[in-house]
Each structure stands twice: as structure tokens, then as C-alpha cells.
């Protein structure tokens, strides 16, 4: 990529200094996908551990578990990290397989809209239980 021929450099000095490339987002997608992945390692292990302990639990027991501050905080973080990581991953899948611009944009908006809606619902449920109605 690095050329010592000034004529072969297509990007101007400012564009190269910004380092954002043709997509104008630079490393942001790649990096945030990794950051959310790293966050999800401990959060996922905690989630599985918790769910195993809640096997066969009724509503009162799960409600009591989720209303504990530590649970509510970790579950909120788990939800945010999960749906954020999901949105980033789904974006790549759509970009890889859907090539017509109009269809791609529509699919992207629909799927990401659904992810945001679901994330908001999950987060609302946690906060409602934790803070009380």
C-alpha cells in the first residue's frame, strides 16, 4: 500500500492522515466488534452460570434474582454488548451476501431496526424489574 512514487498515491495528505479509507469509518467497525467480543467473554460465562442455576425456576425466583443490583447491572451490560455485537456481525453478513444497493439498504435498516427494538425491550424489562414499577 505504501508507495514511494508520489504519483501513485491516490489519497491526499489529509485523507491519509485521517486514515479512514473509502468507507470513511476506518477501523471503527473492526475495533468495536473486538471490544464487544472481549467484553462478552466474562459476561457470557456469568450469564450461562446464572441461567444454569435458574433451571426450572418460577417467575418469583427469577424476578428476585434479577432485582439484585449486581445482577441487573451485569444483565444490562450483557444485553448492550450482545445486541451491539450482533448488529456489527449481522451488518457484515448482509454486506457479504446482499449486493443490490436498494435491497441492501432496506435489509440493513429492517434488521438493525429489529435489533435496536429488541435490545430496548430487553433492557426495559431488566430496568423495570430492578427499579420496580
Amino acid at each position: 500500500m505504501v508507495s514511494h512514487h508520489p504519483q501513485k498515491r491516490l489519497a491526499g495528505p489529509l485523507a491519509r492522515a485521517r486514515g479512514l479509507g473509502s468507507a470513511k469509518h476506518g477501523l471503527q467497525h473492526w475495533w468495536t466488534q473486538r471490544v464487544s467480543a472481549v467484553a462478552l467473554v466474562p459476561l457470557t460465562l456469568w450469564f450461562v452460570y446464572s441461567v444454569v442455576h435458574l433451571t426450572g425456576a418460577d417467575q418469583a425466583r427469577v424476578h428476585a434474582w434479577l432485582s439484585r443490583p449486581a445482577t441487573a447491572i451485569l444483565m444490562s451490560l450483557f444485553i448492550v454488548a450482545t445486541f451491539y455485537h450482533l448488529a456489527l456481525g449481522v451488518q457484515v453478513v448482509i454486506e457479504d451476501y446482499v449486493h443490490r444497493e436498494g435491497v441492501k439498504l432496506t435489509t440493513m435498516l429492517l434488521v438493525k431496526g429489529l435489533i435496536v427494538l429488541t435490545a430496548a425491550a430487553a433492557l426495559f424489562a431488566v430496568l423495570r424489574v430492578a427499579v420496580g414499577s
Binding site: 457470557t44 444454569v52 433451571t55 434479577l66 456481525g89 453478513v93 435489533i115 429488541t118 425491550a121
Partner: protein, 137 residues
Amino acid sequence: MADATPTRRPRPISPFLFPPTGIYRWQITSTLSILHRVSGIALGFGALLLTWWLLALLGEPSDFDAVQAFLGSPLGLLLLLGWTWALFFHLSNGIRHLVWDTAHGLELPSVYRSGWTVVILSVVLTAATWVAGYFLV
């Protein structure tokens, strides 16, 4: 000398690539790569289930029982088993990817070894989780 009607050879067409009928030999690298994507999408649907489960906490106790009853049905248990494996596979293979991002473990023997480690680990962790869940009921 020149034949009046040259025999028509069948024109080359793009071959089907993927096993079992394609021209490629099966390899763990590509299999785990596509499984990472497939398990990720499956976990996205699992996140919908998690949301349903959490929302059921806001309704009547019978609403929550309905979710638990579905999860305890044969179809529900099968889905949970699939999601458990998808979760552990995506988790361990994701860590494999994070290691690769540090430019380590990229030699082919190392890639194969970590690949099989991920497969075995995901199955062992899935089994351990279900055994633990079974004994805790």
C-alpha cells in the same frame, strides 16, 4: 485436411466447490469459518428468546410459566441445546479469532490444532452445562 464440422467440446463451466460433491477436499478451516457465522446468526435468534423470557417477568406468573413450558418441551429443549453449543462454539472460536488478531497461531498446524480444540471444548462445555443444569433442578 481441415475437418468441415469441428467436434464441439463442452465449454468449461465453473465447478461446484464444496464437499461432498464439489472439487474441494473437506477442511476444518473453512468449516469452522462458516460455522462461526451460522452460530452467530443462531445466537441472534437466541437473543430474541432471552428478550421474550425477560419480558415475561413483567407479566403474570402464568405468562412466565408459558415461556418456561415452551422451553421445557422437546422442541424447546432441542433449541436450548443447539443454542448452548452455538454459544460455546462462538465463544471459544471467537477467542481463537482474537488470538489470530494478535498475529499469533497463524501457522497451518497451529490453526488445525486450535480448530479441533475449539470443537472439543464446545462439546465438552455444552455437556458440562447440561449435566450441571440437570443436577441443579
